[in-house]
């Protein structure tokens, strides 16, 4: 289990990216991490990996996350963490060398499924293919906790659909996914739990099964939680154009 206890992060100046975040991520869960831009989703993930300093505690099965146990966590990011000059095949070798639990078969299967060219430097691939490589590498690292930060940037709708389906098909019960995305409606059928962040604070943490039981849709729950005003657009348009709208 990954536990975040009173985690806070203040960037230079007075920008408080995370405020007293408490969160438990259990093994085998698929969690969606939602929030507006700047809500703290990426910062939260970076704190887990120790890429940025933070206050509070982050524990993996009761132990602080260090080089010793960090290989149990994988990270796929929209900023990309691959080595641009290397080909996908070279990445596989490189990962295999550094991560003993690297899932070679899964890598082969996924690259074949997405028809990724294995012999071209990753930097020469299209934006969508680059993010596919990034996500595939994170999924194949052999980690128990896989953090994906906006992994579907540059993917078309079909590609994303395929990804969700493939993911659900390949994940083992012990594998945990934490998925940060804005595509709430799309991932609703894929995730077990939704965590909502706003201005660095967790404002909601709900099981999808509970929502379904109440007959509520995730997107409506999120809108309610964020106080989304449906008539905001029409009011603004009235103000701009002077014309009254229904």
């Amino acid at each position: 289990m990954v536990e975040l206890k009173n985690v806070g992060k203040r960037y230079s100046g007075s920008v408080e990216a995370l405020k007293d975040v408490n969160l438990s991520i259990g093994q085998g869960e698929i969690i969606g991490l939602f929030g507006e831009n700047g809500a703290g989703k990426t910062t939260l993930m970076k704190c887990v990996f120790g890429f940025v300093g933070h206050s509070g505690q982050i524990l993996l099965d009761g132990e602080p996350i260090t080089r010793k146990n960090i290989a149990r966590l994988a990270f796929g990011t929209c900023e990309f963490s691959f080595l641009p000059e290397m080909t996908a095949a070279e990445h596989a070798e490189f990962y295999e060398h550094h991560f003993p639990k690297f899932r070679k078969e899964r890598f082969r299967g996924l690259t074949e499924f997405f028809e990724l060219p294995l012999d071209r430097p990753v930097k020469t691939l299209s934006a969508g293919q680059k993010s596919q490589v990034e996500v595939i590498l994170a999924l194949c690292q052999g980690a128990e906790y896989i953090f994906l930060d906006e992994p579907f940037v540059g993917h078309d709708i079909f590609n994303r659909e395929d990804f969700y389906k493939v993911l659900l098909g390949i994940l083992e019960p012990t594998e945990t996914i934490v998925l940060s995305t804005h595509l709430i409606e799309e991932v609703e059928g894929f995730i077990d739990r939704a965590v909502m962040l706003r201005k660095g604070t967790v404002i909601g943490d709900v099981q999808i099964a509970d929502l379904e039981e109440n007959g509520e849709k995730l997107v409506d729950y999120v809108k309610k939680l964020y106080g989304y005003q449906a008539d905001r657009v029409s009011r603004s348009l009235e103000l701009i154009t002077g014309a009254k709208r229904e």
């Binding site: 990996f49 120790g50 890429f51 080089r67 010793k68 960090i70 290989a71 966590l73 994988a74 990270f75 990011t77 900023e79 990309f80 963490s81 691959f82 080595l83 641009p84 000059e85 290397m86 070279e90 070798e93 550094h98 430097p121 930097k123």
Partner: protein, 228 residues
Amino acid sequence: MKRRIVDRWFPANAMGQGGLSARRRYRLVIYLAVAAIVICSFFMFFGRYLKEKNKDPWTLMAVYRVTADGKRVLENYPVYYYPDYVFVNGIHYKIEEFVDGQPVTEPEWPKYYQVETEIVKVSNFDEMMGGVFWLLPVVIVFAIVEIIMNYCSFYRPTKSIYLMKRFRSGAELNRRCLTMPIIMILVSVLVCVGLGALYYWVYCNYTIPERLPDRITVNIGRMLLWWS
């Protein structure tokens, strides 16, 4: 397989630069150019050394001092030689006449000194070695810049630092950033020391014993020879 071996011994930075594969050649070209300059600079000075009759004003001439009992003692003095002037051991003389085709100055010069018939350039070993070693600081500065660039390459254009930080040890990142610059420095040092030793060997064997410079320089040279 071959690629893996190359990557193991000559690792590249995040942008694939610094190693030895085809995509990484430009750094290799720079290294070779630096090595070539070091070697050329050696041969440049080496050639100057072997040149018997140089036209450089700075030279060391062997001069004979005539003692009271009429014996001639061979001495080494640094001499600046110009067509009309001679500076012997820091003293300035104007040349008035030539003895055996060589300048003779007044007033003390003819009485005490007679310039040897052949002017042979015998620079000090350390002075000549400076020509070989001056590139080392350049190589070191270049290597430091390279190290900084290598670390930066893991932050842009992709954040491969996030991958490096997930490895069990931090050695991979340092290996990729430090290996090639350190190899570059080591090769340069070895080239300089090796050439210096060769140079010294030639220096000792081709210079007449009376004209060998002071003992300290000789000892430094011997030490370098032994070290290499």
